[in-house]
Assembly symmetry: C2
Homo-oligomer: 246 residues x 2
């Protein structure tokens, strides 16, 4: 293995996104193409809530491992973005506005009782990854945000066009995210390009992004299996009103 130049490393990272980011997943084609039932969208929002809720825990886990105050300060803005300055702002509060607008009970959503187990396993794998791997790998695993402005644009446009029960207000979460994601991912990309100086470190960075793509992909696989086809809902998980029990 040779050391890649910073630009080569970036190109490899972007290639992983082009091949493995969940923008390519069939569930997103349905969601963004106006082909989902309301129940399927509820199931998506309900399960994705757990991902949203764990992101600050993931970020604080990363901060807790940084010996560099500058990196801790930089990463802290992610906590602010997700947890807000009060209970009514921040990304998690906006996600809960989405689940409520979709007709899901707030207490049911935050209880996590309806989650697919596979959602929990995938999201928890992300938190454990950030706690257990190197700080460099932990930072690299955030790099899916490089690709999120595009998918969010597709989602906003597709969902507003495809579903009469979805308004711009419903999707306020996504309105806020692109500039945050761009700022954060530029920082993280610059960090890994500067810090990954060995072939081993660079391979670890690439593997971390693949891992994170898997975390996102597996969540959609589970949604598809439970709510699209063959609609086998795991015992105890959410069953939408418009889905017959199988």
């Amino acid at each position: 293995m040779n050391v890649l130049s910073a630009d080569e490393l970036e190109a490899r990272l972007r290639d992983i996104g082009a091949r493995r980011y969940h923008r390519l997943h069939p569930f997103h084609h349905l969601l963004h193409g106006g082909k989902c039932t309301k129940g399927q969208i509820q199931a998506w929002a309900l399960n994705r809530y757990y991902y949203q809720a764990q992101i600050p825990i993931k970020d604080a886990s990363l901060i807790a491992r940084c010996t560099d105050p500058a990196l801790r300060r930089e990463w802290r803005s992610r906590l602010v973005d997700h947890d807000g300055e009060s209970a009514t702002d921040g990304g998690i509060a906006r996600w809960l506005a989405l689940t409520t607008a979709l007709g899901l009970d707030h207490d049911y959503v935050v209880s996590l009782r309806g989650l697919l187990p596979a959602t929990r396993f995938a999201v928890d794998a992300y938190v454990h990854f950030v706690r257990e791997r190197t700080v460099l790998e932990a930072v690299a695993s955030s790099l899916t945000e490089l690709f999120s402005p595009v998918i969010i644009g597709e989602r906003m446009e597709g969902m507003l066009r495809g579903y009469d029960f979805v308004t711009r207000d419903t999707l306020a979460y996504f309105d806020k995210r692109p500039p945050q994601a761009q700022r954060d991912s530029e920082f993280a990309l610059d960090y890994v390009k500067r810090q990954a100086m060995t072939p081993e470190g660079q391979q670890a960075v690439l593997a971390a992004l693949e891992f994170k793509c898997d975390v996102l992909w597996a969540q959609l696989d589970a949604l598809y299996h439970a709510y699209v086809a063959p609609k086998h809902v795991s015992p105890g998980a959410f069953i939408p009103a418009d889905q017959e029990q199988s």
Copy 2:
């Protein structure tokens, strides 16, 4: 919440098994009913290898947390069962004999390159659970073994009848397991019945068994999604020779 008697607790645990153990999963109906393709059986054995391979790590993680030498001694027999006394005996070696008999390359299997990410996430969730929860919960999470002799009997009979490429020799792993599982699960059941003396402890024991059922169930959900229907294989995971790329 009231304290359950030991017998009530056992009845609740057995009821969880009756409702949520993966014996009920549609993938197992196919597998045991002679309805799987060879490629689907390969995918099952390949992915389940990771579960087998992590079991001693799970068990050592539990032993590492026990302050009671008697419990450590008892649990040590599980390491012997899975890791054997040499490289050619033990449960993992017998599982690899199964994957080889099914036509999978040994090095490919142990490389873990073909795993579905959801397999990894579910199995790792089990290891993390045992490391992070109480020893009582960790012991309780092993109680799916109460139900394994029955499913193994069904599997042996169904696979020998259903597939001409499966022999009793192929399934040597399963020949050995029922008496081990019975001994281990009787010990663990007795342990939780004696140790779970509060309503909270008993609820935690019940939740631990539900969690473990989810771990097993989610692995089959992922296999079904990737290899039965709609046959969406996660990027990078094993694709059987008899499965067209979708």
